[in-house]
Subunit: 345 residues, 4 copies
């Protein structure tokens, strides 16, 4: 028997992507799926792709916790603390795909989400679970804040450069583009097909809630406060994020040396791929996978490094990374259940 | 060590989908990938989604046969016979994803493809490998004609109805719609993005080469000659086929009875799913899988049965089914390597 | 000064397409635009494409009627009768883009829409305004039922064949595909981008409300009751309908003769184009226009005529045709304001 | 009779968009359309959307010049000079949509295009024809270099800010995204539907040929050399460009003051629209039009101005602007033939 896992918020997009991946996870047993909106219905009624494969009836969140050893939660912010507390009491692992356990500083949470932390101990015991950066800290933890999609692509994209002090930390501009699943399953005019098909626009310009999370990670890498300009755009595709990141070089460095730096930094990381010189990262190549593809470019005319980082917002940006984290805390090989090959098309 | 498998024509769309699926197949070892156009290059240079996962150098077709026990070929028609002969001589299994071993009657091949069979024995030893209909005949064979995408969706969609004599066999009209990968990797004006995005049109109206293959299967089921009207359309999506099939009922039957018939016919078939009453098959639910979803509808006003059959043209319509066939001839469980859950989006 | 025109329901998709076309109409003056949901706001706030061009404040429906000589209404069924009555009293022209004045037989309306006609005189005075078929009847009328999108494409597609008695009227099957704007501006799970992008499925199979309207027109052409099988599908494009229509030939006829018949029937019709032999109608070529493109095909093997009819569901299928009708009743040249060339892409 | 206009390269995407717009231009008569590839064929055979509207036979380039007073050329770079010379000799207006008359400095042309200017007088007599910036210089000229699509969106987006000295000219980063028609009608793997659908990636990173043209315009506005980082991306839509432009503010300024500056700068410009505060420019709103929509944003945390500029790459970015230029040199009202309302969807 595998590890009993459960999902709170299983009918949201990240939730149902967790379902898909966990059903293929050789060491996990999907014990319960919860939904407030659809409790009592089989999940395959909401998602017919699961027909004949997984037809579990959606239960209450409480039942999910009761039946599971590892609980994934994919909820709007402000709702996870109580479940984390409940899991902590019962000695269960709680992996939060929402925003409630990502920010170390409560004032950031207050400023950007308008809410407070109610139980500081929970947050002190939690870990910001970006494995490539914080693997050792994740081990042994039972409350995990799974990183946001944009912050994952950006943290991985800048880690080698910032750690090496290559960049002027005041110069960083991130122009990011996300597929529509990033906006979730909830209906909105913005995500109505005729409104976003054959359309393209930025949103929440320099005002997106992922900003403090991005700066927390970059600041921690750089060892100094980092303030960035971050502009996300809505891309008319279902899945995938491309972050195009600009930073001014503080040091003389050749493109080959940048490649060496990135390759050596990530040489042990299965899920980070450095694209061959002369090619650009494309979200197409990482769809339905846990990969982060990074391409590296120099603008010698302006002395800027350009890093392009592509992930699947639902994979490495959400459900895939959450499973990677589960594997770490459960002592499994980190890629267990995450080896499916991304499709070409 | 697993079964050594190789792919001739590995850089075509069906070929590279085979690569993806075989890399996840627990009993197969992908021993060689062949390409005339890209021989000598690593396949991951052509398909960067494979970077870090599978970087084998593309070889000649001859080397593929030499290194493999089971050979998949995905080639333009007219090219497979010599490879089939070579495999037959060496006692290897040859699974042809092209058209050369699908038609029992050479005159059909001549009429629709303009070519002849050069070695009749090969064709007599071959089997038309649609597992749900011809499973027993497939076992023990070493030359397999893997069905076309449209014929698969249609054969499965009509099998229960035709076998039961429900339909007037002269009344069958098939209006099919395929994603653009069905047209292959080769460039054409029709598949140039600005030409097929925000576009929709039929093509090869009542003149598509899959027609004799469709009629061969339907005729075999019905036990009489069946002539159909078949009109395919190009759909602006990457993957998937929906066949909407119309037939006049010869017998009084209720929709519930039709459901019973289809469910009982396919009750042992993992890869055929009958959609719940009141819902319609959607290619979305079978993408990246080996499923065929079938929905059933009666037009009582005109006494017609309407069957909607959805597959992934690259999955059950090509590479997935080819692996299902490999599993059968190799004595493996039929779903080995084919259990990945189709994504919701 | 031009004709004062107004739109009730101006923020729906057909409504705002009327705005676009009427702003380019040389003889019309857009006097008022009404909206229940957005009354008091400038329409350019809802539709920023109109910024700087047309920033009229949305008013009540009553004000639209008061300020206009010709009133277009694009409303859910059941709401138009009272506005028609009001216009009739005041001697104004009322062009209804909804379903309330399309069906001659009240029992059809009852059966398919579940409502009754409250004022039979209004309906007796109304005309089903498909210009190519009913031009003479439209002239002089002041209550116009503008045809539905599917019925327009189908009526025009079958008119020459049915009028000539070419087809077995019991054999007609219509497989239609519509872009997502056909589902309107209202939000639904079905039209949520990640749900309908890379998806394809039929809906309301043999149960769509346009069925009686289609049969009314075809029956009137044929001079006998016609019952059809009609299956619409949702197509992942913004605009356009393709109807693929199948009918069994009652007479011996060559494809050339079919072409002659269609060309002679439509030789005076600017908005109907017969595609060259060997090509197929594509919705791409009629987008943003009032054209209906028709391609003709014979399946000699099964003795069926296949007609492919493509329109822009928002153009000839709604707003364009409504303006064509306005031109007729106002004594203008029928193509006034409808001459913009459809874009290639 | 209108002005006789002709198009060299009429079957390319910019060429056929010119056809569409010129057919609706009340003062122009489309006298000849040229094509090397399709000479002798009616243009409606290549572009069936033109059937019944414009079926002129494609002629040689020489005939286009002979029959026309104003000649538009849409050709690969290096081919326009000889036609410009020929037009100059005959006193005809030559509007080049290619790159040959855009760069003032021959060394830029040499460096980025690898070619030389053969007749310097032609280039000295030519004007870089971005009307909002160079209207007075355009008047009276007969050789016009119509700006590139990216440079148009960027020049208009930065003009008010740079002219006012708001920005540190060393800080400018442009992250641009273009629809696939920007890559032209020619086939390529990159623009093969399954390759670019559900995909997104930058290309020619800090190496695109529009860079010197962008810097020429920005430098001219700023009155000093400007070097920018410019990264274009391929967007899976047919039409439209969004340029997201980042610049560090040199002066203290409020967002309201930025709005005032832009609005006052462009108050006489019909084709530049400043989006309301709090909204973002979206290519959806300018499709099929000659508009440039600009939205303005401050990142107060990093003291950067963010300008989002959206155009239709085929409209204001090519054919629309070329007609605007023709109107200027022919003394017509600048918006003649350019007043069609952009569609909502």
């Amino acid at each position: 028997m595998g590890i009993k896992v459960g999902i709170i918020g299983a009918t949201g997009y990240a939730g149902v992507e967790l379902v898909r991946l966990l059903l293929n996870h050789p060491q996990a047993e999907l014990a319960a799926v919860g939904s407030v909106s659809f409790e009592g219905k089989p999940i395959s009624e909401i998602y017919p792709n699961l027909a004949g494969i997984f037809e579990a009836v959606l239960t209450s969140d409480e039942q999910v916790i009761e039946k599971s050893e590892v609980i994934f939660a994919s909820l709007p912010h402000g709702l996870s603390e109580k479940y984390a507390a409940s899991c902590a009491e019962q000695g269960k692992v709680f992996i939060d795909l929402g925003a409630d356990f990502r920010l170390w500083a409560e004032e950031d949470y207050k400023q950007w989400y308008g809410l407070e932390y109610h139980d500081l101990t929970l947050h002190q015991n939690a870990v910001y679970a970006l494995p490539e950066l914080y693997r050792e800290q994740i081990k042994g933890k039972t409350i995990l804040g799974n990183p946001g999609c944009y912050p994952t692509s950006i943290g991985l994209g800048l880690y080698p450069a910032l750690k090496s002090g290559l960049l002027d930390t005041k110069s960083i501009i991130i122009d990011a583009k996300s597929g529509v699943t990033g906006a979730g399953r909830g209906l909105s005019q913005t995500t109505h097909y005729p409104d976003c098909n054959e359309a393209f626009s930025p949103y929440k310009i320099a005002d997106h809630r992922h900003t403090p999370e991005i700066e927390q990670t970059l600041g921690d890498i750089a060892g100094e406060r980092v303030t960035v300009t971050f502009v996300p755009h809505l891309l008319p595709v279902n899945r995938g994020i491309v972050s195009t990141i600009y930073g001014t070089l503080k040091k003389d460095i050749t493109l080959d040396e940048v490649f060496d730096l990135y390759k050596s930094t990530y040489k042990e990381e299965q899920f980070v791929r450095i694209c061959p010189k002369g090619t650009a990262a494309n979200l197409k190549n990482v769809r339905l996978s846990n990969y982060c593809d990074i391409s590296l470019h120099l603008d010698e005319r302006t002395n800027r490094l350009i890093v392009v980082s592509a992930i699947d917002n639902m994979g490495k940006g959400a459900a895939g990374q959450a499973i990677q984290n589960m594997n770490i805390v459960c002592g499994l090989s980190e890629n267990t259940g995450l080896n499916s090959v991304p499709p070409c098309f």
